[in-house]
């Protein structure tokens, strides 16, 4: 049997494409969590981003407005979360859940008029170079700007956290808000910024889904990706580079499922669809079993409210 090497390249490229929204949302949430805030609203922010991007693209016709609009929508919706958890000191878990329920409702409400409208073609780069290099051609070339950004993001995030002053501040706030505050750092401001940034990345992840990956609006189209993104942050033990690995595994599961169906493997389709969720659980178990490692890598103040003086 001859396996076409370019076919393998195409499969890897499609795995990468399905990993993009996970990388974006996870890297955003990672920054939020590094500052000590647990935002469980990723699914809600993502779906808001998806409908905002698609709606803006349809209404304005501008892809740039749509992409940035989706990020802005993510920022706006996460502002609710930031205000509640930081200013009104509410419980992170409950607030995040409310955000997801609210987000799914609002997106379906807005999206009612956009069901069944075809999407637009999103420009890709270096399309012509695809066939120049075997295997690597389809992997490296012919993708959207968001795709390239997503694969650069874990490295940017890692650099930001390790090498920049602001990154250090974010980590300090997450690990010890009290001492950061004593050093004169405005803990609340840093956390606000990190939450809003997480919102922007989730919004972008959603826009990628509705504008580039499957260019259309379908209700609930994020289908749990927001939750998988949250699981990926735990998987990565809060290390952005490992998010890349995790996202590729989950992207792989999604893609393999399609190919198994296509070649007629006699496994019920529902079991294949359930695979990413089941694997998420297994991976979480394996990672969390080492409680010492988890304790050392989890931001110490994760999910705990901080209120100065009083």
């Amino acid at each position: 049997m001859i396996i076409d090497i370019n076919f393998i390249g195409l499969i890897i490229a499609s795995i990468m494409a399905s990993a993009v929204p996970l990388i974006l949302a996870s890297c955003g949430e990672l920054i939020t969590e590094r500052s000590g805030v647990l935002n469980l609203g990723v699914e809600g922010m993502m779906i808001i981003g998806a409908i905002s991007g698609f709606a803006l693209m349809t209404v304005t016709g501008s892809l740039i407005i749509a992409i940035f609009g989706a990020m802005l929508a993510g920022v706006l919706i996460s502002t609710i979360f930031a205000f509640l958890t930081q200013t009104l000191i509410t419980n992170h878990v409950a607030t995040g859940l409310a955000l997801t329920i609210f987000g799914i409702g609002i997106s379906a409400m807005i999206g009612k008029n956009f069901v069944g409208i075809p999407g637009k073609e999103f420009p890709v780069f270096f399309e012509g170079l695809k066939d120049t290099i075997p295997l690597l051609g389809p992997i490296l070339f012919g993708h959207s700007i968001v795709f390239y950004f997503a694969f650069a993001l874990p490295f940017i995030t890692s650099y930001f956290l390790k090498k920049t002053k602001i990154g250090l501040i974010v980590r300090a706030v997450g690990d010890s808000p009290e001492s950061a505050s004593n050093q004169g750092i405005n803990v609340r401001l840093v956390r606000y910024a990190c939450i809003l940034y997480g919102g922007a990345m989730s919004g972008l992840a959603g826009a990628y889904l509705s504008m580039i990956y499957t260019p259309q609006w379908i209700e609930n189209m994020t289908g749990g990706r927001g939750w998988i993104a949250l699981a990926l942050v735990v998987f990565s033990t809060w290390n952005p580079i490992k998010i890349l690995i995790g996202a590729m595994i989950f992207g792989g599961l999604t893609i393999i499922q399609f190919h198994m169906q296509a070649i007629g493997v006699r496994i019920p389709v529902q079991f294949l669809t359930a695979l990413p969720y089941i694997v998420t659980i297994i991976v979480l178990v394996v990672i969390s079993r080492d409680s010492r490692k988890i304790r050392l890598s989890t931001p110490s103040s994760l999910g705990k409210s901080f209120h100065k003086d009083n």
Partner: protein, 354 residues
């Protein structure tokens, strides 16, 4: 000038007042949303909250929807009180329904007084089994229960989907994704002629009474309260934390499973693809709105049930999208959490001094 002062102690009066405030604020914000969407706010709110329950049938529908919400929320309050974040009740409901539906199908075309209790028990066991997964993983593998219980929701719905289109689908059903009708002995009896409200409501009421007793009259209730307040204190007092985690998950799984039984053996009488309009998620809001108090949860389940009915009515009469219900549910929780600020802080108005 406005000054915010921290209270010495959380105010008890405000503890029970904020849910009311939250509902009021939700109505105001909801009216605003309707106005933005181009509807007359008061008319829309009337269609949303009053018209659906204005007659006998509507009231029965309200109780029908409030029953699973109340049942699940009671179960969840065991978890939330003791700091266990079970957010996968929807999955436990689905799995409970699968197990009890499977048992009901075993008794296809058989009659007998013993069938219904077995079917109900099977649902509770199914829910417990499914809830035991996040509980065991949390206690023995230190795994985050939020993510595990949530992932299992998706899995349970896919199992249900597989069964109703595959092995369990009705052989005479023209390939509709549904099972055979259960025999009458496997169905919860309807309470009134022509109304859909069924005996499942007694399960919910029983759960309310039992949970009240456990919370306020038993040592277990006290332990849960202490663990919820401070895990360190609980450890210091020597409570067996692992046992309790598993126990509260089993209780909430059983409640969710029973809610699943009610959904399939009540008016529908068969398994099909969509047995629950996200009751398991909405019940989280009900539990909080009811302040994790059994009586509070009764009221909260009625209030939140209206958002389901209202969404349907508003869709029919005013073409308001039905998802507005979810928007209202999210807003209730937002406002409730926000107004909890008043529990811990006082807002003082002070005349400006020079």
């Amino acid at each position: 000038m406005i000054k915010i002062v921290k209270r010495d102690q959380p105010s008890r009066a405000i503890f029970f007042f904020t849910p009311v405030l939250a509902i009021f604020l939700t109505l105001v914000a909801g009216g605003l949303i309707f106005f933005i969407l181009g509807f007359k706010p008061f008319e829309a709110l009337k269609f949303f909250f009053i018209v659906p329950i204005a007659d006998k049938y509507g009231f029965s529908e309200l109780l029908l929807k409030a029953t699973p919400l109340c049942l699940i929320a009671i179960g969840l309050s065991f978890c939330f009180k003791s700091n266990n974040w079970n957010i996968g009740a929807e999955g436990q409901l689905t799995f409970g329904a699968i197990v009890s539906g499977g048992v009901a199908l075993l008794f296809y075309e058989q009659e007998g007084f013993y069938i219904l209790p077995i079917v109900i028990l099977a649902g509770a066991i199914g829910g417990m089994l499914y809830a035991s997964i996040p509980a065991i993983l949390k206690t023995y593998f230190n795994t985050n229960e939020i993510l595990v219980s949530l992932m299992l929701v998706y899995v349970s719905k896919l199992i249900l989907d597989y069964l109703v289109v595959g092995p369990w689908s009705n052989p005479e059903g023209f390939n509709f994704p549904e099972t055979r009708q259960f025999s009458d002995s496997a169905k919860l009896p309807l309470l009134f002629e022509g109304l859909r409200i069924h005996a499942g409501i007694f399960l919910a009421l029983a759960a309310v009474v039992i949970s009240w007793f456990v919370f306020y009259k038993t040592y277990l209730g006290f332990q849960m309260k202490v663990s919820g307040f401070s895990l360190k204190t609980a450890k210091y007092a020597g409570y067996k934390g692992k046992k309790m985690i598993i126990l509260v998950f089993l209780i909430s799984g059983a409640c969710a499973g029973l809610a699943g039984v009610g959904e399939i053996t009540g008016p529908i009488g068969q398994l099909h693809r969509e047995i629950s309009p996200d009751y398991g998620f909405t019940a989280i809001i009900v539990a909080f709105l009811g302040r994790l108090h059994p009586v509070g949860i009764i009221f909260a389940s009625l209030v939140v049930a209206i958002t389901y009915l209202g969404a349907e009515t508003a869709q029919i009469f005013m073409q308001i999208p039905k998802y507005t219900g979810q928007v209202f549910q999210g807003m209730i929780l937002f406002f409730l959490l926000a107004s909890d600020y008043l529990l811990f802080f006082k807002i003082k108005f002070i005349g400006s001094k020079k």
